[in-house]
Amino acid sequence: MRLRCPICGERDRREFYYQGAAVMLDRPAPDAGEAAWDNYLHLRENPAGDLEEVWSHDAGCGAWLKVTRNVSTHEIKSVELAREVKQ
């Protein structure tokens, strides 16, 4: 699999670290309640189609990325810098 890092260009999967669903970008407030935190850390939509997820270009530029990828076909739909998604 190859991902197109917005900074470095297309690179082999071996340069990237995978964290999981992109819900991890939306950290709840401390008082958001049990359900919000359970959703944040544990419960997952886990679709068999397009999934938004977070990766890091660990062995490259070090950027954290938000990737949209079809997890049944492994087709990469988009790669964005997490930093820009958040701002």
Binding site: H42, L43, R44, N46, E53
Partner: protein, 417 residues
């Protein structure tokens, strides 16, 4: 039909014409007491134990493909009870005991081979952790012994003891651990369940779960609606999709785990060996193929295929640990889709919907659990109460923090277990 050496002999002499179907091909009835979604190893085992232990035979197993077509038919066939943490320890102990009587129970040779498992140790810290685990096993009444370097060398002289990147300090030896013929486990449970009256319905995909006022009423399928008093979701690999039909979200991410087999070779590896520093494990099948695997590919996936970096990593681990197998040739690789849970341990529990039960989250430990998963899930379905070995395996344990069983100690990130 009862299988026996004599039967094989008489059939052989009469042209093998008398062998009947291993299981029936029934059409679904309009209603069952219990419908199980998923005809994999765990679903078929559940059906067997429902019938055998609880006398419940008005049961259907609905399988969207063919029986045993999921992870029970694509794994590295390891059977063991070498867990450390309370909850898992008693469950896998229970499972191994069921394995030890499985062939008599099923009248089917699943080739359960207790050839012994050796988990290699590569540092003092790792040894201490394995000693703790071995002591858990002993405290549970199972076998567990620590080998020093010489002890490992005696059993596994072909490992590289001279210059491995992470030298071998010793190992945890679990003699009762071993392997089984994976497909045969599914077929044995299927045959037994079918013989006892359970309907195994293949090519029958569940497309909806019918819930009224918080009570499950049945399922919609590609073969029409089926009413059910209780529904058990036992579809690891696709758990989230099945649960979504009941409006549930599970604490699961699906990940792909690759496995590999080499061409057939004369016997050279007599045990199951695991190499923790390389996330690598290997055994040799009775056909002679070296069966091995490693870590997850690490990204969410429903595609039963992996990618090269992991293939290479696994092979590199093999080469650093046992360079004597360098000229064994990889014949086939495949991927299974794993239900990864936030603590690496499984879930067998009721749900908030009355009559709907869930069995999921097996990560990559599902095969060895097959008998006990079926046994305890059957217990829960039949009695409404968790079996004593699964009281900790609750669906809400991540929310409450109670009873988290994080064997790998890597925390709530699903793919790290």
């Amino acid at each position: 039909m009862r299988f026996s050496g004599l039967k094989v002999l008489t059939e052989g002499l009469t042209g093998n014409k008398g062998w009947g179907p291993h299981w029936r091909n029934p059409e679904p009835k309009p209603e069952y007491d219990i419908v199980l979604i998923g005809g994999g190893g765990h679903g078929l085992a559940t059906a067997h134990y429902l019938a055998k232990e609880h006398g419940l035979t008005n049961v259907a197993v609905l399988e969207k493909g063919y029986l045993g077509g999921g992870n029970v038919g694509r794994n590295t066939t390891i059977v063991r009870a070498n867990y450390m943490l309370p909850g898992n320890s008693e469950f896998y102990s229970h499972s191994l005991k069921l394995w030890e009587g499985l062939e008599e129970d099923l009248n089917y040779n699943v080739m359960h081979s207790q050839r012994g498992i050796i988990n290699l140790v590569h540092s003092d810290g790792q040894r201490d952790a394995f000693v703790r685990r071995a002591n858990s096993m002993c405290g549970q009444g199972d076998d567990g012994a620590m080998l020093d370097r010489a002890g490992v060398e005696k059993l596994l002289p072909f490992l590289d003891f001279e210059q491995t990147r992470f030298p071998i300090y010793g190992g945890l030896y679990h003699k009762r651990g071993g392997t089984a013929r994976h497909d045969a486990v599914a077929w044995g449970f299927a045959r037994s369940a079918s013989d006892r009256g359970v309907d195994l319905i293949q090519q029958c995909e569940v497309t909806g779960i019918h819930v009224e006022n918080g009570v499950v009423k049945g399922v919609q399928t590609t073969k029409g609606p089926i009413r059910a008093k209780k529904v058990g979701m036992v579809a690891a690999g696709r758990s989230s999709q099945v649960a979504a039909m009941a409006g549930m979200r599970l604490p699961i991410e699906s990940h792909v785990l690759q496995a590999f087999v080499t061409e057939g070779l004369k016997p050279c590896i007599d045990h199951v060996i695991t190499y923790g520093m390389g996330h690598f494990y290997i055994s040799q099948s009775d056909k002679g193929g070296l069966v091995f695997g490693g870590d997850l590919d690490m990204y969410a996936s429903y595609a039963s295929r992996g990618n090269l970096p992991l293939v290479e990593h696994v092979a590199e681990a093999a080469m650093t640990l046992m360079p004597a197998i360098g000229k064994a040739k990889v014949l086939r690789s495949w991927g299974g889709v794993m239900d990864m849970s936030p603590d690496g341990s499984f879930i067998i529990d009721k749900t908030d919907i009355d009559g709907l039960f869930v069995n999921c989250g097996w990560c990559y430990g599902g095969f060895k659990a097959t008998p006990a998963s079926g046994h305890t899930f059957a217990h829960l379905l039949a009695t409404g109460n968790p079996h004593p070995t699964t009281v900790r395996h609750r669906l809400d344990r991540f929310r409450t923090g109670r009873g988290i069983m994080d064997e790998e100690a890597t925390g709530s990130q699903h793919n790290l277990h």
